[in-house]
Chain length 110, copies 2
DNA sequence: GCCTATAATCGACTATAGTCGATGGTCGAT
DNA sequence: ATCGACCATCGACTATAGTCGATTATAGGC
């Protein structure tokens, strides 16, 4: 048998974790969605959907769709405020990303 | 005019950069591809395509496809060796990822 | 109660991407 | 020269996802 090489200090990634990280990265795998996230992240206060539409320059339904995707993966937080929806960024997602990269590369989480 | 909020310490991301980062993340947005990358990254030596096929458990053409995608974005490096193809990981991609995340969040690169 | 503003949802279209089986091409050994 | 191992490419299918316009729902103001 030709056993594949293995290094105990660099453990293999379980397939379930791979799918989880993949859906994580898939959330960032669209240019428009990155612009939406960036608009929210660079704002000094909560943004409404309409403001994001003006800023990014795509249709309102498109922004609404991207916000739903971003919210599902906890990149942003949405809060109803009357007839508007206030969107804020979740700063924790910044630090989770390098951690995922490290695990893919085979380093144990600290 | 309802001008969008702007913070000079958190510059907006140019659309071209957004697309560039998006294609970067898109490369990591598939579970099988992450397993391929992880297999190469955790190996203590260069791996052949056949070894990756045995390790990940998908078709040979599928692995070949994913390796091409990974190589195009410089995640891995491929080198012909007779009838085999030796695949090694590009360790630099690990550090570029947090940098991209920081720019999306509006922090200037240091 | 009616009207407007705001945003979510729906329906449809299109493009992209993952997977596989089959084929073809190249290298090395016999 | 032939054969076998190894891998890239092709063709086809399917699933997913991004975009838009239209519609619907809800909340606030008149």
């Amino acid at each position: 048998m030709n056993r594949p090489p293995q290094n105990p200090t660099r453990p293999a990634l379980p397939p379930d974790d791979a799918d989880e990280y993949a859906s994580w990265f898939r959330c960032l795998a669209d240019g428009t969605r990155l612009l939406v996230l960036n608009a929210v992240a660079t704002a000094d206060r909560a943004m409404t959907v309409g403001e994001i539409v003006d800023r990014v320059g795509v249709g309102q339904s498109t922004v609404s769709h991207h916000l739903r995707v971003l919210a599902e993966e906890r990149f942003v937080h949405t809060q109803a405020d009357g007839t508007r929806t206030l969107v804020t960024v979740n700063a924790d997602c910044l630090q989770a990303l390098p951690e995922a990269a490290a695990r893919i590369m085979g380093f144990d989480p600290p």
